[in-house]
């Protein structure tokens, strides 16, 4: 027989009720309609930064290359979504005058025209795109490894971040240097073996399998190496900063 404990047999104590109340309270708060977090938002931001750190320092590896698909696996183009902030689609005013400015904390700032970029060694892959919304789609992208451009401009050691600016309204984005140096991170100028169209970020966009779609900045105008962590259009509104996958 089980030992009889020496303990008064009484209904729930005040402490028990308090505990139950706290639990139930938290549970009902958690399901309150459309609640973003109120006073807990700073804590949520903190957790998100922790996840960024883990994503960059634990999960991210240059040895992990994304699986490549045959061209036949491409998503039918009408089904491949394309987002922009500006409507109608942002278009570069004078394509001949467009060039990518690469500067900031670098030893050799550069101004790269599309011809110069296309003359550099290229990467072409057919990979899966992962959107933060949960959808995925497959396409072929061609471009210059960002690592080649990094090597060209020679950023200083303390330039841990890259800021990407665009002509798509006020869209901008910040990246960690490690993800930028991933061998499959490219400055893409072709989509499914055709020159990039305005819907997909013409004339030049960032592309990579190691980040979610909102990090793959379209309509590029400028790359700036910084010591300060840049924000981002969506990141400033609460999306995870790293967006690493």
């Amino acid at each position: 027989m089980t030992d009889q404990p020496d303990r008064p047999d009484r209904p729930l104590s005040r402490r028990d009720l308090l505990r139950l109340g706290l639990t139930a309270g938290a549970a009902s708060l958690a399901t309150a309609c459309g609640w973003q977090g109120g006073p807990l938002i700073p804590a949520l931001r903190g957790a998100s930064h922790l996840n960024d750190w883990v994503g960059e320092n634990v999960f991210l590896s240059h040895r992990h290359l994304a699986h490549q698909y045959p061209v036949s696996a491409r998503t039918p183009e009408p089904n491949f979504p394309a987002y922009s902030i500006a409507r109608p689609l942002p278009r570069v005013a004078d394509p001949a005058a467009w060039a990518l400015e690469v500067g900031g904390k670098v030893r050799k700032p550069a101004r790269l025209t599309l011809e110069m970029l296309q003359a550099m060694p290229r990467v072409r892959y057919t990979i899966k795109h992962h959107c933060v919304e949960g959808w995925s789609a497959i396409a072929t992208w061609t471009g210059v490894p960002l690592a080649s451009v990094v090597a060209l401009v020679e950023p200083t050691e303390d330039a841990r971040y890259l800021r990407f600016d665009t002509f798509d309204a006020n869209y901008y984005n910040g990246w960690d240097r490690e993800s930028a140096l991933h061998p499959q991170t490219i400055l893409a100028y072709a989509f499914n073996d055709r020159p990039l169209e305005p819907a997909h970020g013409a004339p030049l966009r960032l592309y990579s399998p190691v980040k979610l779609g909102y990090k793959l900045t379209k309509y590029l105008t400028k790359v700036t190496f910084t010591t300060e962590k840049p924000g981002g259009y969506w990141e400033d509104q609460g999306y995870p900063w790293l967006g690493g996958i």
Binding site: P5, D16, R19, G34, H64, A137, I245
Partner: protein, 244 residues
């Protein structure tokens, strides 16, 4: 029969017939503080994970590559009501989901570690020998058997449920990581059949959790209300005092 030692621990009176003398039942310590803490922490965390997960689902209400065909889903293309969601919009849902995920994993690990170290796993883990006992329990619940089968701390169906739910928790965490890092953890994502299927299994795990929660809570109140107090205070005075 093999159950004899268990029967020997039972009170002399038939359990199912133990009627109006609850105060004469023995008061026993049933749940360690770690188990109770893990249980209630998990209650909050799981509800938060589900609610924020439903918010995330709202951003793309299909499963499968863009262009389809999409996997069968009764909620395909459908929204979930606002009261069931946490975060307000996609970024809010993601923030909550990724913030609660670590404590959720930690709670699960602490609980399983406690079971392993304390030996409590013996009263929880469903084993092949529990299959016929689970069948007898089912007959009892279906009223095809009159007397409550003899049991230890938990009956065989409870063991099945509590073993299954721990595995479901593990499945949720693993499919979660498969969806979270499909490139860096591509081996894990491949294990579940790829990104789209990992997301699909992650979603179905929710509905099994929801079904479990309904049955779990219903049985507490219908069969053994004293177990609620035991999960809060640790002390139990109810119909099933035997511990094996």
């Amino acid at each position: 029969m093999a159950e004899i030692p268990v029967i020997a621990e039972l009170p002399a009176e038939p359990i199912a017939a133990a009627p109006a003398a609850p105060s004469r039942r023995p008061l026993i310590k049933r749940h360690h503080g770690i188990v109770r803490l893990a249980h209630w922490a998990n209650t909050v965390l799981l509800l938060g994970m589900i609610a924020s997960g439903l918010q995330i689902y709202m951003a793309f209400t299909h499963f499968g590559l863009r262009g389809g065909p999409y996997y069968p889903n009764p909620w395909d293309g459908k929204p979930f009501p606002a009261w069931s969601r946490l975060g307000g919009w996609l970024a809010g849902g993601l923030s909550w989901h990724f913030a609660l995920a670590w404590p959720f994993v930690l709670t699960g690990l602490v609980y399983v570690a406690y079971l392993a170290v304390s030996g409590e796993w013996r009263s929880i883990l469903f084993r092949p020998s529990d299959v016929p006992r689970a069948w007898q329990m089912q007959l009892y619940y279906l009223r095809l058997r009159k007397e409550h089968p003899p049991q230890g701390k938990h009956n065989a169906l409870q063991k099945f449920a509590y073993t299954f739910i721990v595995l479901l928790g593990a499945l949720s965490v693993l499919t979660g990581f498969a969806v979270y890092k499909p490139v860096q953890l591509s081996w894990l994502t491949a294990l579940f059949g790829g990104y789209e299927l990992a997301r699909y299994w992650h979603f179905w795990a929710v509905w099994i959790f929801v079904a479990f929660i309904f049955v779990h809570v219903a049985l507490v109140f219908l069969v053994d209300p004293a177990s609620l107090r035991a999960m809060i205070t640790g002390w139990y005075r109810g119909r099933f005092p035997s511990h094996d």
